[in-house]
């Protein structure tokens, strides 16, 4: 989808991402890809993969350790699932509402972005975000060896600086849905690289799109729908789980 075209054309897509947790095996490839394409500093993870139980109503015993990959339950009746979490790109985004300088804004396609030139580092948005996906640049960043990687360039939407390879000290950063990629018709990098095909990106307005099918017929749900944030990231819940006879 080319936003330039979209602007000339009255049609505006509704970008959503659907994550099929039946497929997710917690490999963190999406998170590392995010780190690569966005040149995220050491210690920064715009996208993280949480270890979880397959469903929220589980009665299984909590994990014996708080580390990743440790299952719920008691051997051999065990449950293990994963929940990759980045910015949920909410249609009714608390971060947009609280930003005193309109640095965080929502595009008409549903993408929530930070204008790094406007951000004053007040971190209201971090307090407001119920998903804990925003990160503040407290100091000078350190990076993995190899220099600036990934997209490597500035990208502006409507003149606003929304992609910057090295974010300055004092701004808040987060997932951009890879706006510089989706605006030229590519998928977000995490969706392109997911080795299991668990991450699907597309236009919810398009009735033939895979995301439309998954949201309307595949049972995909939003994270914490009770908060009324109306995210544009959806999760297909785990349908199957190991049932151990003993």
């Amino acid at each position: 989808v080319n936003v330039m075209a979209a602007k000339r054309d009255p049609y505006i897509p509704h970008h959503v991402m659907v994550i099929d947790t039946n497929r997710c095996v917690g490999c963190w490839t999406c998170a590392v890809a995010c780190k690569e394409i966005n040149n995220e500093p050491l210690g920064f993870w715009w996208n993280r993969v949480l270890t979880a139980a397959p469903n929220e109503s589980t009665t299984a015993k909590p994990p014996a350790s708080e580390n990743i990959d440790v299952p719920w339950g008691v051997f051999p009746n065990l449950e293990l699932a994963y929940l990759p979490v980045a910015c949920q790109h909410c249609n009714d985004a608390p971060c947009v509402k609280v930003c005193p300088v309109q640095a965080t804004f929502r595009r008409d396609d549903g993408t929530v972005l930070v204008d790094y030139e406007r951000c004053i580092g007040c971190r209201y948005c971090m307090a407001a975000c119920p998903y804990g996906v925003r990160i503040f640049n407290w100091g000078d960043a350190e990076y993995a060896p190899g220099g600036i990687g990934g997209y490597g360039k500035d990208y502006r939407y409507d003149g606003r600086l929304v992609v910057e390879p090295v974010r300055p000290k004092g701004v808040v950063e987060k997932c951009t849905f890879c706006v510089e990629r989706i605006d030229v018709g590519q998928e977000p990098f995490c969706c392109e690289v997911c080795p299991i095909g668990a991450r699907i990106f597309g236009d919810l307005n398009d009735p033939d799109s895979e995301v439309n099918q998954l949201v309307n017929e595949g049972g995909a749900t939003q994270l914490h729908p009770e908060l009324g944030t109306d995210p544009n990231v959806y999760y297909v819940p785990v349908r199957k789980r190991v049932v151990q006879e003993s």
Partner: protein, 811 residues
């Protein structure tokens, strides 16, 4: 680039950049395609973005859509995982070995002096020549291993050519320090005649990964595919989503693969054959076998002489018959030679009169052997509920085709050969070998086919192929001159001092060498013991070709110039060879060697690569000409065994009492072992998604996720609590061979009585991922003599066949 500027907020909006909001295109990346040749079997294709000579982005690369001859190739998704994406910081790692070094302190002291390539290669040439003069040519041992699976600089690569041309011995080309040899040996028992020269001493292959899409059920046996070969898990999910394929895991650990499967059978480690015998018994006694398949393609109907247990021969029991196997024709009640065209109904079961004796069919012997493996008895041996044994047996007998994907974990056992023999037996009686969606697959791909002429690469005209000295024989060769003295060694793409089992013994042997060279790009535990260290290239800095674990040819161009003073192993070998007077064997470019290995453009090229052009090879990842497609071994049901059939009754194993796949207890990790009282825990050292064996261990992105890179012991609270071990406590894991100290991670994913510490973390002078030691300080090198029947897979490190005790460490 852009510096922090608190004043920027005050700049007017829309002051910079294009007003239309369109993309800002700056810079110009050149994008290359290559294959990631490290040893994880993923064999991913990478797209490498280079800006101003520096790699800036790595992403997944598309696959060619055609075969060499232009036929459509299967649909194969671009693939990559967290390790591949992290390769920029591997190549640009500040801890790379930048220059050649020689040791200046005592061996193992970590004191180095930078030297020139000229001095380094002179030292190697002189010391190799001195050792060869004093102790014989074979006393120099070349050990190129599986750190790379590329053709020129990998487990099948130029190191073997160098060994041949100087007359040195070399480690085997199967590799992986031998933990991966027992299941291939078992595969050859059943499917290959190792004594037939046409079989080259044995081989090992499997189904192309997309062939699993045809399976109705897939059993992951000791195979944590969703963690260790992550992109292959997509194919399994695609099969389940498209066709309802049932996914079943057999594993003592609740791995992510088990969690994502439909069924999990938490087996007692090493009891695998018992479970298979239980399924065989159920399948045979409930009519769930494939009688036609058994009759046509297996030795099932052939009669066995009850006194010798050897095959009954037609010439001995049928007047005038030629040398052949014997069957009992139920249609007329007579014995006939197996090849007799008048055979109408060869009996697969029963014991039939043969001369003065009663001769059973091979299938009858299998049924008799398996009969005691009732669901209840199987349950007792395997710790799997009898109902689950029956459920799996019913699946096996009713879901066809059924595919088995086996991890090399099943090979890390003294009886790994038997595990594979048993799986193939079960797949044979259910008609699942040589069919789409069936088989038993660990590894497949171009490297396992006849596409490449390795023999002429390893031993160019005028030279003799190197003598094989197995890694398992290294210690004895150095310390006891058995089978001959080894005094000098060159380790390439191999972290032998850490990854080989019984590490204390290995280090002792390495310290006893007169001279030791190591080529690597990082200062590994093996480098720590070297006299000369050479800086090697990563996959981005040299030319090669990858065709492992898929059937595509992935040309690997040199994408960036070698950093610092690193050189490819081929260039390093060429310098040494020149100084040893054999430079003429290494005077060509990698491209030229690739042309030779594939007989490119020649009439005698293998059918899989026939007609391949250089342009084709270097413009996309082209699929081999395979028959069928996706590739299935033995699709034509021509088995290269003595009988031409699947030999689940293995006559050559009679001396080992292993002619049939009857369960045997592990050599060490068994409750029947008296040692079990002292060391009651089975010690596994499995693979993690955060590294590939001992590579990529210091990459910060991966270590940020993976506990800072620090190793830990997975232990069930049931085992931890009585020992006073809490989550995060430091524990000592020990047995008579050595010890390891790490922190405990309590998890119900471990079967009680089994503990696990991921292998591959580093224990070097400078980098310690374990508080003390390494998992291989606990493992052993007890070899199974039966495997010696298969020349290419003669010995195996049984890493998991290992007992330990665990205790807390005070203070």
């Amino acid at each position: 680039m852009i510096v922090a500027d608190h004043l920027r907020f005050f700049q007017p909006l829309l002051s910079q950049g294009p007003m239309d909001g369109g993309p800002v295109i700056t810079g110009n990346a050149t994008v290359y395609r290559t294959g990631h040749s490290n040893n994880c079997d993923g064999a991913c294709g990478h797209l490498i973005h280079v800006v101003d000579g520096r790699v800036t982005e790595i992403g997944p690369a598309p696959w060619g859509t055609k075969t060499v001859s232009g036929a459509p190739a299967p649909t194969f998704h671009p693939r990559i995982c967290l390790r591949g994406l992290s390769q920029i910081s591997n190549t640009y790692n500040p801890d790379r070995i930048k220059y050649p070094y020689k040791r200046v302190g005592p061996r193992g002291s970590g004191k180095w002096q930078r030297i020139s390539w000229d001095e380094a290669t002179s030292l190697i040439a002189e010391n190799f020549a001195a050792a060869q003069q004093k102790y014989g040519k074979k006393s120099v041992w070349i050990a190129p291993y599986t750190g790379s699976l590329a053709l020129i600089e990998g487990v099948v690569g130029a190191g073997f050519r160098f060994a041949s041309v100087i007359g040195a011995s070399a480690g085997d080309s199967e590799g992986d320090n031998e933990g991966d040899s027992s299941t291939p040996a078992g595969w050859n028992y059943v499917l290959v005649d190792p004594t037939n020269p046409a079989n080259g001493g044995g081989f090992f292959t499997g189904h192309e990964s997309v062939d699993f899409l045809s399976a109705k059920a897939i059993v992951f046996w000791a195979n944590n595919v969703a963690e260790t070969s992550i992109p292959d898990w997509r194919i399994m999910c695609d099969a389940r989503d498209a066709s309802g394929t049932q996914l079943i895991s057999v594993d003592p650990r609740f791995t992510v693969t088990c969690a994502a499967s439909d069924e999990w059978l938490p087996i007692r480690p090493g009891a695998d054959t018992a479970l298979i015998d239980g399924i065989i018994n159920y399948v045979l006694s409930n009519g769930l076998y494939d009688a036609d398949y058994i009759r046509s393609y297996t030795v099932g109907p052939y009669l066995v002489d009850p006194s010798t247990k050897k095959w009954l021969r037609a010439k001995d029991v049928i007047a005038g018959a030629k040398d052949d196997y014997v069957v009992f024709d139920s249609s007329d009640g007579t014995l006939k030679a197996a090849g007799d065209p008048s055979v109408r109904d060869a009996a697969i079961f029963g014991t039939h009169p043969a001369g003065t004796t009663q001769a059973p069919t091979a299938l009858q012997l299998l049924a008799d052997m398996a009969s005691k493996y009732t669901p209840e008895y199987t349950s007792k041996l395997t710790d799997i509920p009898a109902s689950q044994v029956v459920a799996l047996a019913r699946t096996w007998g009713t879901q066809k085709p059924l595919a088995v994907r086996v991890g090399f974990g099943l090979s890390h056992w003294y009886h790994g050969d038997l595990h594979m023999q048993a799986l193939l037996t079960l797949q044979a009686i259910t008609g699942n070998i040589g069919v789409h969606g069936g088989g038993v697959t660990t590894f497949a791909g171009g490297i396992t086919t006849t596409a490449f002429d390795f023999l002429n690469f390893w031993a160019p005209k005028g030279t003799t192929i190197y003598p094989l000295l197995e890694p398992m024989n290294f210690c004895d060769a150095v310390l006891k001159d058995d089978p001959y003295p080894v005094r000098a060694a060159w380790f390439m793409i191999d972290n032998f001092a850490q990854q080989m089992s019984d590490r204390n013994q290995v280090v002792k042997a390495m310290m006893a060498l007169d001279f030791c060279v190591v080529s690597d790009y990082m200062l590994s535990a093996t480098c720590d013991i070297a006299d000369v260290v050479l800086p090697a290239c990563t996959y981005l800095e040299k030319t090669d070709l990858l065709s492992s674990n898929n059937f595509y040819l992935q040309y690997m161009p040199k994408i960036i110039d070698p950093l610092f003073e690193s050189k490819s192993d081929l260039d390093a070998i060429a310098m040494v060879a020149d100084k040893m007077g054999v430079g003429q064997y290494f005077d060509q470019s990698p491209d030229e060697y690739l042309r030779q290995i594939m007989h490119l453009g020649q009439a005698d090229a293998d059918p899989t690569v026939k007609g391949l052009t250089w342009e084709q090879l270097t413009s996309e990842a082209v699929h081999l000409n395979t028959d069928p497609m996706p590739y299935v071994p033995f699709f034509n049901k021509q088995f290269p065994t003595k009988s031409g059939k699947i030999e689940f009754y293995v006559e050559m194993l009679l001396p080992f009492g292993q002619e049939l796949c009857e369960h045997q207890e592990p050599i060490e990790a068994s409750p029947t072992n008296p040692l079990y009282k002292k060391y009651p825990l089975v010690f596994l050292s499995t693979h993690t998604k955060f590294r590939t064996h001992s590579q990529f261990v210091t990459l910060p992105w991966l270590n940020e996720i993976n506990n800072g890179g620090q190793g830990f012991l997975e232990i069930n609270p049931t085992d931890a609590t009585p020992r006073g071990i809490g989550d995060g406590d430091v524990v000592r894991i020990f047995n008579d061979r050595g010890q390891l100290k790490v922190r405990a991670r309590l998890t119900e994913s471990m079967k009680p009585g089994v503990v696990n510490c991921y292998q591959g973390g580093w224990d070097t002078i400078r980098v310690k991922h374990y508080i003390e030691g390494h998992p291989n300080n606990l493992t052993h090198q007890i070899a199974n003599p039966a495997q010696a029947l298969i020349p290419n897979f003669p010995s195996n490190a049984a890493y998991y066949d290992c007992l330990v005790q665990v205790e807390t460490v005070k203070g």
